[in-house]
Amino acid sequence: MLLIDCPHCGPRAEIEFRHAGEAHLVRPGGSDESADWGAYLYARDNIRGRATERWRHVHGCGQFFNAVRDTVSDAFECTYPAGESRRTGADIA
């Protein structure tokens, strides 16, 4: 079971959280049907390796936040509040 560092509450067991899919998806503006909307709904990177994902501390502070996790080793590089810009390797180093 993962140990997830909630940006607000600190490290907690995975059972307090709910995974919430890929992070930094941008909900397209506008009001017409277009290809970008289909991609927003259904296209996901499903990265092997360093993935950016969303979690919600649903049985804690209730906050959504983002995390960088290696999907092979399951090691978290970092977690950060929703709304902050995507973390790159350089930010973390």
Partner: protein
């Protein structure tokens, strides 16, 4: 008797009785089942899995493949496949042998052994193929009858199991010399230290120590002092009888603590086991090593065992494993075992050292004890059926051993084939084992998690090195405990595999896999070690190849002409040793399997004789039968009461959320398809929630309590996910909005009063509000008092009748219920359940999300296109509704169905077909009920292009051979189509 006159760690002052296959024996506290049986001279302990060969005990711990028993500790407390080496002896223990018929000594299955040439590896895969039909009827039942080890009990488990979480700065797994040194060092560091060990006693190899000394004390004395020190340290938790069964992510280690199996029934209190989930900042793995047997023909006879086991039986349990033993070795540690046997009074007939040049010091020491050392020779065969009677040996020639050239009479053979570090937990921590040619074993490589492997599991087989290694890993400062280096701690030699005859030499004792089987698999083209494992079954079942893996790899490497690392290791999976289901289930059984949620008025429903149904975790009253009524009769009566007088319904389980803040209206306008900005204060609106994919996610009522405060309801099952969905948009898409969400599902008890008499019943109880339609019309909300209770009153209807929903603080729920029932006396107020509620709403064509929708239904599909605010710039799901597939006229749409014959009730979930093309599914029946109001059965259905087909017919497909039912397609509205009853 095979018990030594003194020595060992057993309590000879007390005697315990036990029975094995009906025969009574005795032993002492401290004994295992295995040591007690050996002390009674019992070597025949089981039959092998496939050939039913007589087998004795091979090991002395978790590695044991042969001595498996059914163990009974009292009524319902039967467990099969218990390793005799791991069963602590308690008074009154009842054990039985397995895999034999009619008895252990006379086993009919042993005929398999005579036909062994005809059942090689893969036999079942190759043989039982034709005719195909025979598999089902003949082969599989027969094979199933023969297969498997032991039978589980069908009684329910009378024991209780506990579970707990723990956190530690250092978790040390294994309390042998390395683990103890680590614990002593870590304890001094002050952090929380946990030390667990799977054995009945802590000490590991020190429990079978002979003449070792640590810090100048005999090993046993040092051990006692070390354990006393640790027990006295407030920051240390000692967990004996506790196996680390799994090493998970982020240093979460699962421990299985056995709390009562070592106690007699009268002393056993509380949970039988406790499963620990330990999150450790650092883990020290000190799990030791397991000795390897030698592979030679007929190496599986009772009396042939690991040298370390023979030594442990002598030194720890005071048991002589035979009167006359031969020690066969290709590792120096066998010399120590020989000395221990000799010290215990076993005549050691010879030491057979397969290596040409044995260590002169060790040879001299052995010869000093009068033991003959035969170097450069190896075991070549054995004799004896129920017990070994002699060992044949022959000179080693390269990597081959010929037929026996000399026979040595003996009743025990101790095999010292070198050591296999227990890398299971290291491997589960995602570390990669690497082959160490010098030591002849796999050892841990780089740590992946915050873990350190120490001692024998890291390839250090010398006591002094183990102590140093553990001390350093525990963060010890100052001098580590010191032991005298020994000559017989030599490194293990990677064994050239010697096997010279055509007779069978066992590699995996438990699964009856021989060297020949492995070679056959390789000849047939299997190369991957994972494939070889599954084809031959080597390394499977309860012992998971603890004694066989490396020997099997050596044979494969030899045959393939490659090195052992190229063959590779199979994956080590959790659990390390078999674990009880009870430990995993722990508290989650019976009434605590899952929370059972009851509404504030639950007891009133019970008193009224309600029949309940499960809706998620909730118990909801389904119907209230009177007298001998069945469900149909009760539901018909309840529906009629609502249509003609009034009904009372407990709607407390509906999800309820307060949406508040200056931007609350704008937020809801974005979350619902409906326009919400202009909803007036004191007014309600039915709302639909989509996901961004355009499909219906939930529905409910949105009520505006104040300009910036809304009370919204969700379906019972949708309460949590709707809140999650709203929070997602609030926090991540609309973070600038000043709006907040508060779940109030459990704050309120909710009673629905519905029916033409509803106002008459309610009005006398209400203060502060005029219920007349002009003052409080359909879709209104207001705070008031009802029966002197603070209440939030809605005028809404899910039944099609005049309806009110009374919300009061949950602690007042029963008072409200009682007041309403009293007020309803004389008005025909009738409690009704969820079943009647379903019928009433279906008569009105109101959908239930999750029943009439399934995650692929748009508002238009469900006939809710009117609820979509098309003028809104954006709302969740809006753009998806414009996608071409969402606009196709042939989508499945909600329609009503009426049986053409006027009587047949359609099956919910049944497929819809056209009579002309009955194989093409056009949709399905989503709701179906008998309707007293309509006078015939009614159904709601999702039908391809349904709205355009209204007026036509479709058939409900019958299951299997049942006939199809023709249905008339109608608009989904069976009662009061213009809605005058609920708004009037």
């Amino acid at each position: 008797m095979s018990r030594t006159p003194f020595g060992g760690r057993i309590d000879r002052s007390r005697t315990l009785g036990f029975t094995f296959d009906g025969v009574t024996y005795t032993g002492h506290p401290g004994d295992t089942l295995a040591s007690a049986l050996l002390a009674n001279g019992v070597h025949l302990m089981g039959r092998s899995f496939k050939y039913h060969r007589p087998r004795g005990v091979l090991g002395s711990g978790v590695e044991e493949p042969n001595a498996l028993f059914g163990v009974t500790r009292g009524p319902g407390r039967f467990e099969p496949n218990q390793r005799a080496t791991c069963v602590p002896l308690v008074d009154g223990l009842v054990v039985e042998s397995q895999n034999r018929w009619p008895s252990l000594a006379h086993d009919a299955g042993a005929l398999n052994d005579l036909g062994a040439a005809f059942i090689p590896a893969g036999f079942y895969y190759k043989t039982f193929m034709w005719p195909p039909r025979a598999w089902h009827r003949l082969y599989e039942p027969r094979i199933r009858a023969m297969a498997g080890l032991g039978r589980p009990t069908s009684d329910s488990d009378p024991d209780r199991y506990a579970q707990c979480w723990a956190h530690a700065e250092v978790l040390i797994i294994g309390a042998g010399p390395a683990g103890l040194a680590a614990a002593l060092a870590a304890a001094a560091g002050g952090g929380r230290v946990m030390l667990c060990d799977q054995d009945e006693e802590m000490g590991g190899a020190l429990l079978a120590a002979t003449d070792e000394t640590i810090d100048g004390q005999p090993a046993a004395d040092w051990l006692a002092a070390a354990l006393a020190t640790l027990a006295a340290a407030p920051n240390v938790r000692l967990l004996p009888r506790t196996t680390a069964i799994a090493y998970g992510l982020h240093n979460l280690v699962t421990l299985a603590e056995r709390r009562t199996d070592h106690l007699a029934a009268a002393e056993a209190h509380g949970a039988r086991e406790r499963q620990w989930q330990v999150r450790a900042r650092r883990v020290v793995i000190a799990t030791g090593a397991i000795e390897r047997p030698l592979v030679f023909p007929n190496n599986d006879r009772p009396g042939i065992m690991l040298a370390s086991a023979a030594q442990a039986y002598a030194a720890r349990w005071g048991v002589r494993v035979g009167a006359r033993a031969v020690v066969a070795l290709d590792h120096d540690s066998g010399y120590r075992a020989a000395a221990a046997l000799a010290d215990a009074g076993v005549a050691v007939a010879a030491i057979v050292d397969s290596r040409a040049a044995a260590s002169p010091a060790l040879v001299a020491e052995a010869e000093g004890r009068g033991i003959e050392v035969i170097a450069g020779q190896a075991p070549a065969d054995t004799r004896g059926r129920m017990r070994v009677t002699s060992l044949g040996i022959a000179p080693v020639d390269g990597d081959r051993v010929g037929p026996p050239t000399r026979w040595i009479d003996c009743d025990a053979v101790a095999m010292a084939g070198g050591w296999t570090p227990s890398l299971h937990l290291f491997s589960q921590s995602r570390g990669k084992p690497v082959w160490d040619e010098a030591r002849g074993c796999f050892i841990p490589s780089r740590s992946v998690q915050a873990e350190t492997s120490v001692g024998a599991c890291a390839g250090h087989f010398d006591l002094a090195a183990c102590l140093r290694d553990g001390w350093a890993a525990g963060g010890g400062s100052g001098a580590a405990p010191r032991a005298q280096p020994r000559a017989d701690a030599g490194t293990s030699v990677a064994r050239r595999h010697v096997e010279g005859t055509r007779r069978r030499a066992w590699v995996d004792f438990q699964n009856d896999v021989t060297a020949k089987d492995l070679r056959l698999a390789l000849r047939e083209g299997f190369r991957s070690v994972e494939h070889i494992k599954r084809y031959t079954t080597t390394g499977m079942a309860t012992d998971q190849g603890r004694t066989s893996n490396v020997n099997a790899l050596a044979i494969a490497a030899q045959q393939l002409g490659v090195g052992i690392p190229e063959v590779g290791l199979t994956t080590f999976r959790a659990p390390f040793t078999p674990a009880t289901f009870g430990g995993f289930a722990a508290y989650a059984r019976g009434a605590l399997f899952d929370p059972v949620r009851r509404t504030p008025m639950h007891d009133d429903a019970v008193a009224a004789g309600a029949v309940f149904e499960d809706v998620g975790q909730w118990k909801r009253a389904r119907y209230f039968p009177r007298g001998a009524e069945d469900m149909d009769a009760a539901v018909a009566r309840e529906c009629t009461a609502v249509r003609t007088a009034a009904g009372l319904f407990d709607a407390s389980t509906l999800g309820k959320i307060v949406v508040a803040g200056p931007d609350a209206a704008a937020f809801l306008d974005f979350l619902y398809t409906n326009p919400m900005l202009k909803l007036g204060v004191g007014r309600c609106r039915y709302g639909v929630i989509l996901r961004d994919d355009g499909f219906i996610y939930d529905d409910g009522i949105v009520a505006r309590l104040a300009a910036d405060v809304f009370h919204v309801t969700t379906t019972t099952g949708g309460a949590a996910r709707v809140l999650d969905h709203m929070e997602d948009f609030r926090q991540t898409e609309l973070p600038g909005m000043r709006v907040w969400l508060t779940s109030i599902t459990e704050q309120f008890a909710v009673a629905v009063v519905a029916g033409p008499r509803a106002r008459d019943i309610l009005a006398p109880l209400v203060e502060g509000l005029d219920l007349a339609t002009a003052a409080f019309p359909h879709l209104s909300v207001a705070d008031c008092t009802v029966a002197r209770l603070p209440a939030r009153l809605f005028r809404i209807s899910f039944s099609g009748e005049l309806g009110y929903e009374v919300n009061v603080p949950a602690s007042h729920g029963r008072a409200l219920w009682a007041a309403l029932l009293a007020a309803g006396t004389g008005h025909g107020l009738t409690p009704y359940g969820t079943e009647a509620m379903h019928v009433l709403r279906a008569e009105k064509g109101f959908v239930i999300v999750g029943q009439d929708t399934d995650g692929t239904v748009t508002p238009d599909d469900a006939g809710l296109g009117w609820a979509v605010g098309k003028a809104k710039a954006d709302f969740v799901g809006k753009r998806a509704l414009l996608r071409p597939a969402m606009l196709e006229p042939d989508r499945k749409q909600l329609v009503g169905l009426i049986p053409v014959d006027g009587t047949t009730l359609a099956e919910e979930g049944a497929q819809l077909v056209d009579a002309a093309a009955p194989t093409r599914a056009l949709g399905h029946v989503s709701s179906s009920y008998r309707s007293a109001a309509a006078g015939h059965p009614i159904a709601l259905a999702l039908l391809r292009g349904g709205r355009a087909r209204i007026g036509g017919t479709v058939e409900v497909a019958g299951l299997d051979t049942a006939a199809n039912t023709p249905m008339r397609i109608v608009a989904p509205m069976f009662y009061d189509p213009d809605g005058g009853r609920m708004s009037g």
